[in-house]
């Protein structure tokens, strides 16, 4: 996993978005009253499914769309009404949008020439960029003479060449195949960190967002559902939608029975949950208890104790190599997923289809969702 810089280092705000709304054709609300700040040096990810407004927000940052309402500030300056060619922001496009009629060298030099930079300075900068993305020997090739990964690096070099204050990445790895994606992800983060540019990236791939970004905003229907560091969003989702969107999750519907400062208990149709921390709620309140599949332990023996276990029948096994996901059908009819590490070479637990298995988990494995 890439170690992206975490947001806890105090930095000045570079980008500030204030109450931005975008309405298309007078009816469709693509972005709904979004506010956010991005600190210098941060990599900020907008994560969401298609049509959630993430791309529209990015395009407003780039200047291709104008907000219906709200302002956008970059380094304290209001850039809401600036056209794209006057913004100190560059974008790396999803399809790379390399100019097919220009060589790699000319593609990278394109933006610098528009700035009227002297020739020798341009050459120097382009060489530097080519070295940065390790494409020096491909300088004279045309885009179609490059592989997908190389094109992606040209696109990155081109968007970094002008030393933008803010770099926008639109699905940066979307056009690459899976294998190439992992290595490229690391390369990309390393290059971005080396240059030290602030980034806003858009992706629908939660893994991409988690590995690359220091903060993630989960978007849905034009608004932010949750903003936080990757581990926060994953381990402490604030709603069912977020919990469901980021990774796999089992959600038990239940009612709070005991509500103490240091713990709560929740009764659901399947079992009693003992949650080892206090929550803001009251007894009698309907809640969801979210439990990630990898936090469940499976065994053939019945666990002792009254809380945090349930029994079920193995109805499905999905083997992933490193781990196996078991689908357990509980007495209530609910199917939960449990993920077990395959830490021995013979298939662990000896569990198979039709077996009765006991799922148990500890008191810190769950998150109580009140919305």
């Amino acid at each position: 996993m890439a170690t992206a810089p975490k947001a806890n280092i105090v930095r000045e705000d570079l980008l500030r978005v204030e109450g931005v709304t975008k309405i298309f054709d007078g009816a469709v609300k693509a972005v709904d009253n979004v506010s956010l700040t991005v600190a210098t040096g941060e990599i900020f990810a907008l994560l969401g499914g298609s049509g959630c407004g993430k791309s529209t927000l990015l395009r407003m940052l780039a200047g291709f769309e104008t907000p219906t309402k709200g302002r956008i500030f970059l380094a304290g300056e209001d850039i809401t009404d600036l056209p794209p060619y006057k913004r100190p922001i560059n974008m790396m496009f999803q399809s790379y949008a390399l100019f097919p009629h220009l060589t790699v060298w000319e593609n990278i030099a394109f933006g610098l020439k528009r700035d009227g930079m002297p020739r020798d300075k341009i050459a120097e900068r382009v060489e530097k960029m080519l070295a940065l993305v390790q494409l020096t020997k491909f300088a004279q090739r045309k885009p179609h003479q490059l592989s997908g990964g190389q094109q992606q690096r040209v696109a990155l070099a081109r968007s970094l060449a002008k030393r933008p204050k803010l770099l926008l990445l639109d699905e940066p790895l979307g056009a690459l195949d899976k294998k190439l994606r992992e290595t490229t992800q690391l390369e990309l983060v390393n290059i971005i960190e080396e240059v030290g540019v602030t980034c806003v990236l858009v992706t629908h791939d939660q893994e991409e967002a988690m590995t690359m970004a220091s903060r993630i905003a989960v978007m849905h229907e034009g608004y932010f559902m949750q903003v936080g560091a990757p581990d926060e969003v994953y381990e402490m989702p604030n709603s069912r939608q977020v919990a469901d969107f980021i990774g796999n999750v089992n959600i038990f519907d239940g009612v709070i029975e005991e509500d103490e400062a240091d713990h709560v208990t929740v009764r659901s149709a399947e079992c009693m949950h003992y949650v080892g921390h206090g929550i803001s709620g009251h007894s009698g309140m309907s809640v969801g208890v979210a439990l990630r599949p990898e936090k469940i332990l499976l065994s053939k023996e019945k666990p002792t104790g009254d809380y945090n276990w349930c029994a079920g029948e193995v109805v499905e096994m999905v083997y992933f190599g490193a781990h196996t996901t078991y689908h357990l059908k509980l007495a209530s009819g609910k199917v939960i997923k449990a993920q077990e590490l395959n830490n021995t070479r013979d298939l662990s637990y000896g569990l198979t289809w039709g077996d009765t298995a006991y799922a148990h988990w500890n008191e810190h494995a769950m998150v109580v969702l009140t919305q």
Binding site: A62, G63, F64, P83, P84, Y85, I89, N90, M91, F93, Q94, S95, A97, L98, F99, P100, H101, F110, G111, R114, D115, R141, K142, H144, Q145, L146, S147, G149, Q150, R158, S159, K162
Partner: protein, 305 residues
Amino acid sequence: MKTPLKSSLRLSEKHATKSPVTMAVSPKMIKWFSQSWMLVVYVFLYMPIVTLVIFSFNDSQLAAVWSHASLRWYAALMKDNDLISAVLLSLKIAFLSALISVFFGTFTAFALNRYKRFQGRTLLSSMASTPLVMPDVIVGLSLLLMLVSLQHWLGYPERGLFTILLGHALLGTAYATVVVTSRLREMDSKLDEAAMDLGCQPFQVFRLVTLPLLVPALVSAFLLTFTLSFDDVVLSSFLSGPGYSTMPMVIFSRARLGLNPTINAVATVTITVVTIAVLASSFYTSRQERNRKREVAQAYSDMNK
């Protein structure tokens, strides 16, 4: 000969759905039929041209009677100043009108493609394609009426090169618009955005990105409008004035007076030039395409090394 063939086809179709065994005969028949059909079509299309070329080398005064081979009519063509000046005039008009058409066609296409909302957009888009469907006779006649009244009021323009050019450019612009529009439509609009993102003002985007990528479309639009103008007889007849006869007009008027084998000679020369041009351009594009495919394959195999 045709009746049994047809009935056997129908028979095989009927049987094909029921038992595949009888299919053994029919594909052969179908192949035979389609090949002879193709032959008939080719003969129908190219026989007149081949005949024309052969008869251009005929020594006889009569266009339809073969005596023996000679270059007599080519020699006559060399001395036929009327015809030569008509060819030169046609070339000149075709070249100029193609230039004008491509120029206006490109901007029309660009405006229609990139600007989705402006006053009179619908009007422009329908006006741009009207000449395509309007009969040439109507276009020619209405232009003539307009020009005659203009000349009546203003004393200008005299009918001649300029008026023919006007008519051809009008028609050509419509065609050029279609060609350029189709290319613009398939072009990635992200390229424009990328250019703007990198600091291009709108006109720079057009000059530095859109225009270079349009070159192939501009070339084909030029060739198309050139050909349209070169063989147009209707508009030219309406719009020309004394002393301005284009090649098709001369051929047409001579053909009406009785076939003169010189016409065969000039037609053969034209056909030869066109054939060479078409062959050269298709050879060039297919080689480009092959190179491109090879380079793409190369790029990916380089990576795997």
